[in-house]
């Protein structure tokens, strides 16, 4: 407060001193200098309040402070009155409506002293229990079963498998588009394993994707028109409430779509072999329709759990771009694997090039000291390989 007052007075003084030159602006440095200037004025005398008045205010308070205290007291008194009269439920009232509209049944009060038939329970069996994780879960979802859209386990695919899966989904999408149905129906839950009519992967193989004459269009051509019809039948038209997404059906569809041949579908397990294959010609088909792109993304997510990042979705203009993101890539070659180093191992066997980083433990091992250090650490119940990770001590034991 005193500093602000100092600023005010000195600024005024400066302004008066420089009034001849009509300079209203005082630079920051000058103001700072003025603040630092020494002042002999007492802080209290500058306010213009007499000593008697100040003492009076201190002892009895000002009008403002009195009002504030009264308001506070009033507020507290009101709170006490509320607490003294809690809401008492009527015994006769059997039901009660909650704040969000639902009705609760009020339990009957049983007085053990009056009721002759009342028998005290000797065990917890048969009594209603409150609490436990199971109880909470049962109340929370009210018996509904939640089935996620994304599978719980992410599935890794090899390059050629990705290629086949992309082909399968794209053919389905194009067939839906051709039939005038919304492409989002591709994600609807299928009939399941029991119905062979829902095996859409049997028909998508025969579809050929071609770039259409239109600038934005790609189309699918079937040699057998029956396959197209079957495929349309396999994809449900409506999303039924009772039909839940079946993980086994999704898995079988994925396995069928990425199998080597249609006959071997289903019996081959999914194994992500590290084969690196470049994009094929049909993949150069443009992906301009945002709906198709979105449906493709959703179907990939639904089947494999693989999320495609937004930048990739927005920048990919063809299926090949998507494929290049999804396919397994070559690991960057290490110096250790270079042919020069492999030759060096033969020419100069005493030159050691390691494939991994040399740690202090390696150095200790070369000196033969590591086994001693390890033994002593274990004996003292200390972490052997560092302590900067959770469970380091548990691992040491």
């Amino acid at each position: 407060m005193s500093s602000a007052r100092g600023v005010r007075s000195t600024e005024q003084a400066l302004r008066l001193a420089s009034s001849l030159s009509r300079q209203s602006y005082v630079c920051k440095a000058c103001r700072a200098q003025a603040i630092r200037a020494f002042s002999t004025t007492h802080a209290q005398s500058a306010e213009g309040v007499s000593f008697f008045k100040r003492m009076q205010d201190t002892l009895f308070g000002t009008k403002a402070s009195r009002d504030r205290r009264e308001a506070q007291e009033k507020k507290e008194r009101g709170r006490e009155v509320e607490g003294a009269s809690p809401t008492i439920y009527d015994d006769e009232q059997r039901t009660k409506v909650g704040p969000d509209g639902q009705t609760y049944e009020v339990a009957a009060v049983v007085e053990a002293a009056r009721e002759r038939q009342y028998v005290q329970a000797t065990s917890l069996d048969g009594l209603e229990t409150v609490g436990s994780e199971q109880w909470v879960r049962a109340r929370a979802d009210k018996g509904e079963q939640y089935v996620g859209f994304v599978p719980k386990k992410r599935i890794e695919l090899g390059s050629s498998q990705w290629m086949m899966l992309l082909h399968h989904i794209t053919v389905e999408l194009l067939v839906l588009q051709k039939a005038g149905r919304p492409v989002g129906q591709v994600c609807y839950p299928r009939q399941g394993l029991e119905d062979p009519n829902s095996y859409s992967w049997l028909y998508t193989r025969s579809g050929t994707i071609e770039t259409g004459s239109k600038s934005d269009g790609i189309k699918v051509i079937f040699a057998d028109p029956l396959a197209e019809e079957r495929l349309l039948l396999a994809i449900p038209k409506s999303l039924s409430e009772s039909q839940l997404q079946d993980e086994r059906a999704l898995m079988s569809e994925l396995e069928g779509a990425v199998a080597e041949s249609a006959s071997s579908a289903g019996n081959g397990a999914l194994d992500a072999t590290r084969n690196v294959s470049p994009a094929r010609g049909w993949m150069e088909a443009p992906l301009k329709d945002a709906n198709i792109k979105m449906a493709l993304y959703k179907r990939i997510l639904q089947l494999t759990g693989k999320r495609i990042p937004d930048p990739v979705i927005s920048t990919s203009t063809t299926i090949a771009d998507l494929y290049n993101h999804l396919r397994t890539k070559d690991k960057p070659a290490k110096l250790f694997q270079s042919p020069q180093i492999q030759r060096l191992k033969v020419i100069a066997p005493n030159v050691a090039v390691y494939s991994n980083r040399r740690t202090p433990i390696h150095k200790e091992k070369e000196l033969g000291r590591w086994k001693v250090i390890e033994e002593e650490l274990v004996r003292r119940d200390l972490p052997v390989k560092g302590s900067r990770w959770v469970g380091a001590k548990a691992k040491a034991r």
């Binding site: 005493n350 091992k365 070369e366 000196l367 033969g368 000291r369």
Partner: protein, 465 residues
């Protein structure tokens, strides 16, 4: 005692050099091939049945490795660098160099450690050093000879050599360590505290080391110079680590145990041949420690000395006598030993007069050659010791008596440190290969090929005070 008949001179040395073939080298390299087990890391892990099968069929699978396998030697940068740094001949393989680095405390089995090579190397180094000292300084007293020998090829010198070569030591021996390091089981330092007790290692009451039970080890035995020559090692010190008297000279050697009970009980003579046969059984279990846990820990100095000696022995076996002599010349004789500082006379004047009497010189007379500041605080007298007209020695001293004694000591030192001219010196080891060179290879590029053996000067001995 002839100066050349020391225990350092190995009779087998000459034989091997003369024949030109090295049966021991072949045996050692064969042992290397047979005894070493393949490195576990060089093979993928075998199934359990395969391992069990191998264990039952192959004898070597039962032998664990206490030191890195010889297969790792080829991949060690340290070993290759050491081989190049010492300019070792290519005949000496890296595997043998690696074996030279395995002390007997790291692996007690003689087929794996450097002990056999070190024995040979110690004899060779001792032999070459002794002949060098004796031929160059034929009049050296025995005590100086011992001291000079220790200064050239003693443990401390060889340990310094090891560290100058840049050979480092392991912390603890094991199979996983770098093969280019000196493998030894370290002695616990005396300053270390004993576990669970409030006492230092060096303050522990220790059992006295049991010696070989020889006469000169008794506490009341007067170990004079003659005793040292007869009983002790090449440095005149008590031989430590000698096996007891009834021990076998080598592993598996037949040994007869005197059966005294038969004489007492007076059993029949028919049982005698059977008892002899059992006494001479060869297939006894091997003596001594077989695992690292049983070995005695050693000091870095002792292990370093054994490494250098083993290297000399391995050089002899793999590359021949010339290579080992070159090694000795480059690494041992290149270290200058100031022999005149080793002398310590108690009665130089008396010794000098005894010497003159023995040699038939005129009795020594001390004469003042010059002086300065006789009445000052620091007078200097220069006194010469003369035998007739010949001046034997000269020295300066702060008093007449001191100068006289110093002059006598100088005269004795110059007598003892006499060295024949270089052209007259011919080392026995240089003349060893003459026969084979002249017979087999004709004119070899050998310095000594044209030099016939010259009898070396042999002094009648020192003056015994």
């Amino acid at each position: 005692m002839s100066p050349f008949i020391t225990r350092d001179g190995s009779p087998t040395t000459g034989t091997a050099a003369k024949t030109g073939s090295y049966p021991t080298a072949m045996a050692v390299s064969k042992a290397v091939e047979e005894d070493y087990e393949p490195a576990p890391e060089s093979h993928p892990p075998a199934p359990v049945e395969q391992v069990l099968h191998n264990r039952s069929t192959r004898h070597v699978a039962e032998r664990p490795l206490y030191a890195p396998s010889h297969r790792k030697a080829l991949h060690s940068a340290k070993l290759a660098a050491l081989h190049a740094r010492l300019s070792l001949p290519s005949k000496l393989p890296l595997q043998t160099l690696a074996r030279c680095l395995i002390d007997s405390s790291a692996d007690p089995r003689p087929g794996y450690n450097n002990a056999p090579l070190a024995i040979l190397g110690q004899d060779l180094l001792g032999y070459y050093t002794a002949e060098y000292i004796l031929c160059h300084y034929p009049r050296l007293p025995m005590a100086i000879l011992f001291a000079a020998q220790y200064a050239y090829v003693g443990n401390a010198t060889l340990a310094a050599m090891r560290s100058e070569w840049g050979v480092e030591t392991v912390g603890a021996p094991g199979q996983e360590v770098e093969p280019g390091l000196l493998q030894l089981k370290r002695l616990m330092p005396g300053n270390a505290m004993l576990e669970g007790e409030n006492i230092r290692v060096r303050d522990m009451p220790q059992a006295r080391r049991l010696g070989s039970g020889r006469r000169n080890e008794a506490f009341d035995y007067r170990r004079g110079m003659s005793s040292r020559v007869v009983y002790d090692d090449q440095f005149g010190d008590l031989q430590t680590g000698l096996p007891p008297n009834d021990a076998r000279p080598f592993f598996g050697a037949p040994i007869s145990t005197p059966n005294t009970t038969s004489d007492v009980e007076g059993t029949s003579n028919e049982a005698q041949p059977q008892r002899d046969a059992s006494a001479l059984s060869v297939h006894d279990p091997p003596e001594g420690p077989q695992t690292v846990e049983d070995t005695e820990p050693t000091t870095v100095e002792l292990a370093s000395a054994s490494f250098v000696r083993a290297l000399a022995g391995a050089l002899y076996l793999h590359a021949g006598a010339t290579a080992s002599k070159t090694f000795h010349k480059d690494h041992v004789l290149s270290r200058h030993v100031q022999l005149h500082t080793l002398f310590h006379f108690t009665h130089p004047t008396r010794d000098l007069s005894n010497l003159c009497k023995r040699e038939g010189f005129e009795p020594p007379v001390a004469r003042l050659i010059s002086e300065t500041g006789r009445l000052s605080r620091t007078p200097v007298f220069v006194v010469g010791v003369f035998s007739g007209e010949e001046k034997l020695g000269e020295a300066a001293g702060a008093s007449l008596n001191e100068a006289r004694i110093r002059a006598a000591a100088a005269a004795l030192r110059s007598w003892y440190l006499y060295s024949p001219p270089e052209t007259e010196i011919c080392l026995p080891s240089d003349a060893e290969g003459l026969a084979s060179i002249s017979k087999g290879r004709g004119k070899a590029n050998h310095k000594e090929a044209n030099m016939p053996w010259k009898p070396q000067m042999i002094d009648i001995g020192e003056i015994i005070t």
